[in-house]
């Protein structure tokens, strides 16, 4: 049996979501997410790619059933999780180190996690900065994230911070290396589209040991951990990033369990060991796109992409098209391209 949220209720909820998202558009997806099984309170509707700041698929901590378990083992940055439940989406395996070794800077021990308590004790809620004010929702950034450069963390990357060398690794000294294609924020798609307040066009950026770093006169002054680099299985999650939970729906859909067992950053969902804070698996890539009933389906969804197990039920026809994104199928009017129905796919 299908469950519907209809008519005026849908409109009212959509309206409340809109009113909760005065920023709208880019970076505005976070605030009004109602969580649970319905998408009626999704804020914004457009992509919000801020580094954890803009988009949140929910704000409720806890909740959601069917949680997975991590083996309770402390210390170190090694993969030590087990039993992730029946979904098996992301068996916590380390990256194949025969092919890639872990980035040096990511070889941290538990001591690094204490940094936050001293230098980054005060968090500010990016969502709140935009007028939403709900400090229980979305991601929080460390106090070290300077205004105007959202997306970068001020200071020295964790591995280098312990070396007390002024955060100037020899390999990054001016003239010590030839800049290459990936020494640019734009190559990593870090630009104003996704990290809306960062001044990515200015600064001396380079790739270093799993991070995108920005150097000043005396060495690295800001850094950003990268998927597959510092953010790879086996490495510790950078303590500077805090998180609240996804909505129970997404917790269920992606099978990540309770909030302490995952991190969601830059449209990527990671599983972490709650005790050690070590990344145990990369669970999912998300578009970050959330759409509402009545909204026009944006460009980029021209091709039918419904999961195979739902194709018999939701197939394009003269009266409706169906498009998938982030655990949801959208029924779209083929003529107007307006979204008629939002269908969640808990399996």
């Amino acid at each position: 049996m299908l469950r519907f949220l209809t008519g005026a209720a849908a409109i009212a909820l959509a309206a409340s979501a809109l009113s909760a998202d005065p920023g709208g558009g880019k970076g505005g997806g976070g605030g009004g997410n109602g969580g649970g099984k319905s998408h009626e309170a999704q804020g914004g509707g457009e992509k919000a790619h801020g580094n954890g700041g803009g988009k949140s698929h929910g704000e409720q901590s806890g909740g959601g059933g069917g949680f997975d378990k991590h083996a309770k083992q402390g210390g170190g940055g090694k993969d030590r999780s087990s039993d992730y439940g029946a979904r098996g989406n992301d068996k916590p395996v380390k990256a194949d180190r025969d092919f890639y070794k872990p980035a040096k800077a990511a070889k941290q021990d538990g001591k690094d996690r204490g940094v936050r308590g001293k230098d980054y004790a005060v968090s500010r809620d990016i969502v709140g900065d935009r007028g939403r004010g709900d400090r229980t929702s979305g991601w929080r950034w460390g106090d070290s994230v300077p205004q105007g450069t959202r997306g970068l963390i001020r200071g020295c990357p964790p591995g280098l911070a312990k070396k007390n060398n002024g955060c100037l690794p020899p390999g990054l000294a001016r003239g010590a290396r030839v800049a290459t294609f990936y020494d640019s924020p734009s190559w990593w798609n870090f630009d104003d589209r996704w990290h809306d307040s960062a001044d990515w066009s200015n600064g001396d950026y380079s790739y270093y040991d799993g991070y995108l770093v920005r150097s000043g006169a005396s060495g690295i002054d800001s850094w950003l951990p990268l998927l597959g680099g510092a953010l790879a299985p086996g490495n510790l999650w950078p303590s500077q990033y805090e998180t609240n939970s996804l909505s129970p729906y997404y917790q269920d859909y992606y099978g990540v369990g309770q909030p302490e067992g995952y991190r969601y950053y830059d449209d990527t969902l990671y599983r972490v060991d709650p005790q050690s804070n070590a990344i145990t698996a990369i669970t999912a890539l998300l578009t970050g796109d959330r759409f509402q009933v009545g909204q026009r389906m944006p460009q980029g969804y021209d091709v039918y992409n419904v999961p195979t197990s739902y194709r018999d039920q939701y197939r394009d026809g003269p009266n409706a098209d169906y498009r998938y994104s982030d655990g949801t199928i959208y029924q779209v009017d083929p003529t107007t391209q307006l979204i008629q129905t939002v269908i969640e796919l808990l399996t």
Binding site: K101, D302, P307
Partner: protein, 192 residues
């Protein structure tokens, strides 16, 4: 896999009676039979595919293989081994252990949300009456598909262009479509 009933939100803005919506969803006659997908996961299918050994190793090396080993559906425009060969020294650079992040960024640009077959792309192109069709990538950009004769081409936002180079792999949770060029600009370099 246990399927729970999907929750549906229907908007009055759509001006469709509930029954009509339900009917639209339930009674749509498949225009074509979906290709029989393998029971294997996409990660497994890619791992055993000749000609995709580099991308398979890259998925494992970056830790992204687990993304394609689960329930959420993805389509990978999978650069074949020759595609990486075209990169010259940059391929070795990307494969270097310390550059796992760069390889992950390259791979992410090739991932589409959902389950997209070549037939689906062809159908979209046909419906668009020859105009290009676009799909979102997990890197946040779009890839544009065009067809000239029998050649299906994918073009990335940065202008990189690739042709479909082999038969797609259909798995339980996604599709891998081999392509002959990497869809992200990776300038050739001689010093990995």
């Amino acid at each position: 896999m246990i399927r729970r009933p999907p929750a549906i939100i229907v908007g009055a803005l759509a001006l469709l009676p509930l029954a009509a919506c339900n009917k639209a969803a339930d009674s749509a006659t498949p225009a074509a039979t979906a290709a029989q997908a393998s029971a294997a996961t996409l990660a497994s299918a890619i791992g055993g595919a000749p000609g995709l050994t580099t991308v398979a190793a890259a998925l494992k090396g970056t830790g992204l293989a687990t993304v394609f080993d689960g329930t959420a559906p993805y389509t990978l425009l999978a650069p074949d081994d020759d595609a990486f060969g075209k990169l010259g020294g940059s391929a070795a650079m990307l494969k270097a252990p310390e550059n796992g992040a760069a390889m992950a960024a390259v791979l992410k640009a090739h991932v589409l949300p959902g389950y997209v077959t070549v037939a689906d792309i062809n159908a979209a192109l046909k419906a668009a009456q020859g105009k290009p069709v676009r799909m979102k990538t997990m890197a946040g950009d779009e890839v544009t598909f065009t067809r000239i004769g029998e050649v299906l081409t994918a073009t990335a936002a940065d202008g990189s262009s690739a042709k479909v180079s082999g038969s797609a792999l259909t798995a339980s949770n996604g599709v891998a479509i081999p392509i002959d060029t990497v869809l992200k600009k990776v300038p050739k370099t001689s010093t990995p």
